[in-house]
């Protein structure tokens, strides 16, 4: 339960989702359940995009990622938690964010990851701009994200 069981990485470089999961899972005999959530840059036929740029507020992003990660870790008695969040310009299909939780049982692992994602959506200072063939636009915050967070209050 040491604080070192929480890792937060804010980076522009891409990462390998599966390699990160395997590193996270190694040496974990006391854990029965692991959940990995990966958020990806999405391009659909209805909204085809060329790239997505994540602007962020560096100092606040780091401290908010750490604060929310600590809240999830403690609330769900997790064994281990890692949060990776990228910034900069990303292509469709690239990973934006990955959250990994390790717990004794599945309920805590699932809920820890969900809680963290729900809080990141509205509490981490990132702003997404999508570039498509027709121009650029800032992705609006969703009211669904506010209500997802309310579930935990």
């Amino acid at each position: 339960m040491a604080a070192s069981a929480i890792i937060v990485r804010l980076q522009s470089e891409t990462f390998d989702p599966g390699a990160e999961s395997n590193a996270f899972l190694s040496g974990t005999e006391a854990a029965g359940a692991a959940v990995t959530f990966t958020g990806l840059v999405r391009s659909t036929p209805d909204n085809p995009i060329l790239s997505m740029t994540l602007e962020h507020y560096p100092a606040l992003a780091q401290s908010q990622l750490e604060k929310i990660s600590k809240q999830a870790f403690e609330r769900f008695s997790l064994i281990k938690l890692t949060t990776i969040h990228r910034y900069g310009t990303l292509a469709p299909g690239e990973p934006i964010v990955q959250v990994m939780t390790l717990a004794g049982h599945r309920k805590a692992a699932f809920e820890g990851a969900q809680f963290l994602m729900d809080y990141l959506k509205t509490g981490a200072p990132f702003w997404k701009k999508e570039r498509s063939a027709t121009g650029e636009n800032w992705v609006a915050a969703k009211t669904a994200d506010d209500s997802a967070k309310e579930r935990w209050e």
Binding site: G39, E55, Y57, A59, L60, A61, S63, Q64, H85, I96, V97, M117, L120, K121, T122, G123, A124, P125, F126, W127, K128, K129, W138, V139, A140, A141, D145
Partner: protein
């Protein structure tokens, strides 16, 4: 005091950051937004829907009625879209 701007606020105001020296009667975040709007139409437009303006004082997210105190940095930004 240093002010930072992010995302579409940064684009609309055409600046990343700036130094400001508000008069003494400007005590809260909201009053600073009023004062900036008085002097500049671009701010008046950008700040017209205050529910879309989030703020952080010395890297701590705060409400509009928070007092500026001796803070060194105030950031203005749209609702966050992390994750």
């Amino acid at each position: 005091m240093k002010i930072l701007y992010f995302a579409w606020l940064r684009e609309r105001l055409n600046r990343n950051d700036e130094e400001v020296n508000p008069p003494q009667q400007v005590k809260t975040v909201a009053q600073l937004m009023d004062w900036l709007s008085e002097n500049d139409e671009a701010f008046e437009m950008a700040f017209s829907d205050r529910s879309l303006i989030k703020t952080a004082l010395d890297e701590e997210i705060v409400e509009h009625d928070t007092e500026l105190g001796n803070a060194g940095t105030l950031a203005f930004f749209p609702p966050m879209t992390g994750g």
